[in-house]
Amino acid sequence: MSTVAMITARGLFGRRRALLLLPLPLLLVGLAAICRAYDLSPDQWGEAVIVGLGFAVVLPVIALIVGTGVLGSEVDDGTLVHILTKPLPRRDIIIAKYAVAVAATAVTTATPLFFVGLLAGSADLGAALAVAAVAGSFAYSALFVLLSLLTRRPVLLGLVYILVWEGLLGRFLSGTRVLSIEQYVITIAHKISPTPILDAEVGITTAVVMSAVFVVVCTIFAINRLGSFSLAGETS
């Protein structure tokens, strides 16, 4: 693990905001367990829990907390300067932070989604949801790490993307789904383990290619932005 990744990981899990990562996965698994305990059919609760809560809320919100935490917090409190005043290519810094964000998001979302899939159907469905969550972690993290460098309010802008773009516009305007990571995640999970619980709205090629585009474009843009990182002077 690189020194930048070590500092990032310790900073992420050493802050109180890391506690925010726990309730949502617990709620997700808890709801699925309750439904299962009451012998409800997965057709009755699967979509609401997996898509409505898991893919629409838990995955993007955790990615937002982590993605903005690995870089945005250091930008806010000024500690990023200690990393930037080193002769490290900015690419290495972004990749280290991105890797920590992806790993933390993937572990905290893929694990509960696997158990939810297990409770809703089978280990295959669980594995499909977990793989889709990992794919989503890559795309969301790239987007939210970039947002940390584009704006001083990355969490607010991230919530606008999750709630307005994906949650609201994605429901009513089919064209917006092409730029919706949530739709890619649903499609990938459905492709791996087809189930009526998941309603794929975009093709698998679109989902995979666009996920990759999100990762590559956001990462390159973030590297470029970090290269021009400015500290405010007295007059600014």
Partner: protein, 321 residues
Amino acid sequence: MTTQIEPTSPAVTPAAGPGVVELQNVTKWYGNVVAVNDITMSLGTGVTGLLGPNGAGKTTVLHMMAGFLAPSRGTLTIDGKPTWRNPGVYRDLGLVTEREAVHAFLTAEQFVLACAKMQKLPDPAGAARRALELVEMTDAAHRRIGTFSKGMRQRTRVAAALVHEPRVLLLDEPFNGMDPRQRMHMMELLHRLGDNGHTILFSSHILEEVEQVAGLVQVIVAGRLAASGDYRKIRRLMTNRPHVFAVRSSDDRRLAVALIGEKSVSGIEIESGGGLTVRASDYGSFTRALPRIALDQGIRLQKLVPSDESLESVFSYLLEA
């Protein structure tokens, strides 16, 4: 009255030849606000103080030197290399910002060691140990930075900035939050680094600190370089202001009578506690004439001290100019 100090060009060249840090006609503006206006300066080895009132543009200059702001116009180089979008310069550059944020969850040792590793030093542990020794933080090295006082955090940040022994060290208000002993130690450290051939530039709003640490100053007023060089020499170049001397002799009254006839003397006061305050329009002429007059009169000079060569006087004169 006009001063001889040119607003944008150094009055006194601090070092012969090209400096380690070079600014050529550097200007920085934010929208229609000009923060730094056409500054040209050259920093060689040794300690230089960056002075100026709040909002003068000191931090903007330091941030541009450190590669954290792009000049709107002009060039800024360290060892001939531009600092903006050039992370390679940090092999030879250390920065201690005014904002004292440090990774509070790390111990001082972990923090400085992490900096040494990010510098890719051959012996990061040894370098971290030496840097912590230098700032006298060895005893507290295993404590989390979050538990440190302001001064201890500051020293830890200095250790981190020095761990790779950079040729150039930039410090923004480095004495903030330090107690008098720590302040003294930091001053000694900067002196030592300057004597060892490092190029140190530090900003401070406390004139006594600058006076004690740096003979060379860069004075920035309203974004412009008001003066540059040894502040005592700058004072002597201000010929529009009479130089003030405290003089004590074996016969102050007789010396006053003799001095009033001297062309370079513009005023004399006899102090109630003994001694004279002499105002001279020309520093060189007066200091040459005084011993001659005293000798002619058979008066023994006991004290001759320029009483307005303090940095504070120079600084206030420059602000008024």
